[in-house]
């Protein structure tokens, strides 16, 4: 019972890693809390669902993030870049307006009914894990989370573009004076972050059902993750995502009555202790 719950906690934690690393990347570079991130996640899931209807899951796994990357680049070019001198609060409210529009768009195109995406055949078999039967697909979700975490870390640490991203996150003005095209860089990073939201949506679709309400739950959990982790910190977000997933899983076993409250109690405890989050130093 406990192992299977811990396993499910790890699965949800992996999903949160994919979601919140996108949020953290966008915040790091643009200083924008993207409320539309949840809508991009939902849009990714629905587009994945429709693509999978006509072809298969694997095409959807590529197509939905690609579509969201395009949306992200446009969002940066015609949204964040034009609003970059505005107060962060204003930009946050703009993304919030965007969330309302995109949620309505999803209802307009796909209707209000719930859908679910079938698990791809390649991964539709049970695996024996410590005496428990678990779906192979869920192991796949954990792998995706691990690959995203590792990939982003290596990219930021060892690639030239990663260096630029780190530089621009610390000081965009000086970075652009050194000859880095920060506008193009931002468009790329917001595109990447949005693609990650789309990826999270497709990956979640076979085990969480598709509904017009799917965005708010995951968005709120991702917010908790990036706040606990420290805004804009990727490593903090990874740790917080795993902790949150585990906490919900363990809570479901021992404290089923209050398991929905645990993440928030945890968050408040962390913030009393450290207002800027686990890995946060910047404000």
């Amino acid at each position: 019972m406990l192992t299977i719950n811990l396993f499910n906690g790890l699965v949800y934690g992996a999903l949160l890693i994919v979601m919140s690393s996108g949020l953290a990347l966008i915040y790091g570079l643009r200083r924008v809390v993207n409320f539309a991130h949840g809508a991009l996640y939902m849009l990714g899931a629905y587009i994945g669902f429709s693509v999978a209807q006509y072809s298969n899951f694997w095409v959807a796994l590529v197509a939905a993030p690609a579509a969201m990357a395009v949306v992200g680049v446009l969002l940066d070019r015609y949204g964040f870049r034009l609003l970059q001198d505005r107060e962060p609060l204003n930009v946050m409210l703009v993304t919030f307006g965007l969330l309302l529009i995109l949620e309505d768009l999803v209802v307009f195109i796909w209707g209000k009914s719930n859908y679910s995406l079938f698990t791809p055949e390649l991964l539709a078999f049970p695996v024996n894990l410590f005496g428990n039967e678990v779906p192979a697909y869920r192991i796949g979700v954990i792998v995706v989370g691990a690959v995203v975490a590792l990939g982003l870390t290596l990219w930021l640490r060892y690639s030239r573009m990663g260096l630029f991203v780190r530089a621009a996150s610390t000081d965009p003005v000086t970075t652009s004076m050194q000859g880095v095209n920060t506008d193009a860089l931002s468009a790329g990073v917001v595109g990447l972050g949005s693609a990650l939201a789309g990826l999270a949506g497709v990956v979640a679709a076979p085990f969480l059902s598709l509904s017009p309400h799917m965005s708010s739950d995951v968005l709120i959990d991702s917010f908790v993750v990036v706040v606990i982790g420290g805004l804009g910190s990727l490593a903090g977000a990874f740790i917080a995502a795993l902790l949150l997933g585990m906490m919900q899983a363990i809570g479901a076993v021992y404290l089923p009555e209050v398991s929905v409250l645990l993440p928030f109690i945890f968050m408040i405890a962390i913030l009393i202790w450290k207002p800027s989050g686990l890995a946060g130093s910047r404000t």
Binding site: V94, E103, F108, I220, V224, M267, L271, P275
Partner: protein
């Protein structure tokens, strides 16, 4: 604006409300006005937080719904008369919000918004899953007594009377808020909002006043919540849902948060607009989302700000014309 002038304007506003009540022909229209007035109080609560603290709350539905639930629970347990219960509920909301505020106003402004959303949604989930008295996802009815403040319930719930009660509460809340913001407390919170570090340097403790503003805004929102349950006789988790907070925030921003009256304008515009939309109301959220973006891009200080700018420009041009005439 001096206190006397504010008081005179309040009396004028009360008379205006009476005129609206007498001149509105249909009771369904009055019902809509009542709802608009209740949300105007709610928006005042969210607006005062944004104006005095510079903080955006995405979770004030928490206090809106909590007032209803508190009232419903106390009345069904028959602990005390409804009049006292209202006071107890508001005091409890104020204390609770102050304690929450002490924790969450310390985080950077942007994280604050995310936290209020998370806390609000936590309570929403708790209310949907609760069993027993509060009725879980189905909600609970609030059994108001037969007489409230010596007025028969049948009289009180007449659309015209209820509108006038809500309107009076709105005017009173606005008056009290304007008065509080004119005191030293208002000046201190503005100083902290503009530059917390400097405020600390001149010897102001910064966390407590900000938590107090948060509590004040929660109490105002709680008043709106009480009025809403009086209006509907019902409270459900829907009152706590984050979309309620979102709609109210939209009213505040569209109306303009830099002035005290902007949120009221926003709430009235919202309800008139929603009524005009009629058949397109299924897509109201998308339309309001687009309106929100448009307002922020073109007039960040909302409708009231835009009107003020137009008036200023108008008077400047008038002055110039006058000068060139000489």
């Amino acid at each position: 604006m001096t206190l006397v002038r504010t008081g005179a304007l309040s009396l004028l506003a009360l008379a205006g409300g009476a005129a609206i009540m007498l001149l509105t022909p249909s009771s369904s229209l009055l019902g809509m006005f009542t709802q608009a007035v209740i949300y105007a109080i709610f928006a005042l609560g969210v607006g005062v937080l944004l104006k005095q603290n510079g903080l955006v709350s995405f979770g004030h539905a928490l206090y809106f719904g909590a007032a209803g639930y508190g009232m419903g629970i106390i009345l069904s347990l028959d602990w005390m008369p409804a009049e006292w219960a209202m006071l107890v509920v508001l005091v409890a909301i104020g204390v609770l919000a102050f304690l929450i505020g002490l924790v969450i106003v310390r985080v950077p402004g942007i994280a604050f918004g995310m936290l209020t959303l998370a806390i609000g949604q936590m309570v929403y989930l708790l209310a949907t899953r609760a069993r027993g008295m509060t009725g879980g996802a189905d909600g609970m009815s609030v059994n108001w007594p037969a007489t409230l403040f010596g007025v028969q319930q049948s009289v009180l719930l007449k659309p015209a009377i209820l509108f006038m009660v809500a309107w009076t509460v709105l005017v009173l809340v606005t008056f009290v808020l304007l008065w509080i913001l004119r005191t030293r407390f208002g000046a201190i919170t503005e100083a902290i909002r503009d530059n917390e570090e400097r405020a600390r340097f001149i010897g102001i403790t910064t966390t407590v006043p900000r938590a107090a503003v948060y509590a004040l805004s929660a109490v105002v929102t709680g008043i709106a919540g009480l009025m809403s349950t009086l209006n509907t006789g019902f409270v459900s988790p829907e009152n706590l849902h984050w979309s309620v907070s979102a709609i109210t925030l939209l009213m505040v921003v569209v109306g303009g948060f830099k002035t005290a009256l902007g949120p009221i304008v926003g709430a009235i515009v919202y309800f008139l607009f929603k009524d005009l939309l009629g058949d397109y109301a299924t897509h109201s959220m998308a339309i309001f989302g687009a309106a929100l973006i448009a307002v922020i891009v073109f007039s960040p200080d909302g409708i009231v700000g835009a009107v003020q700018r137009l008036r200023k420009r108008g008077s400047l041009q008038g002055g110039r014309r006058h000068a060139s005439g000489h």
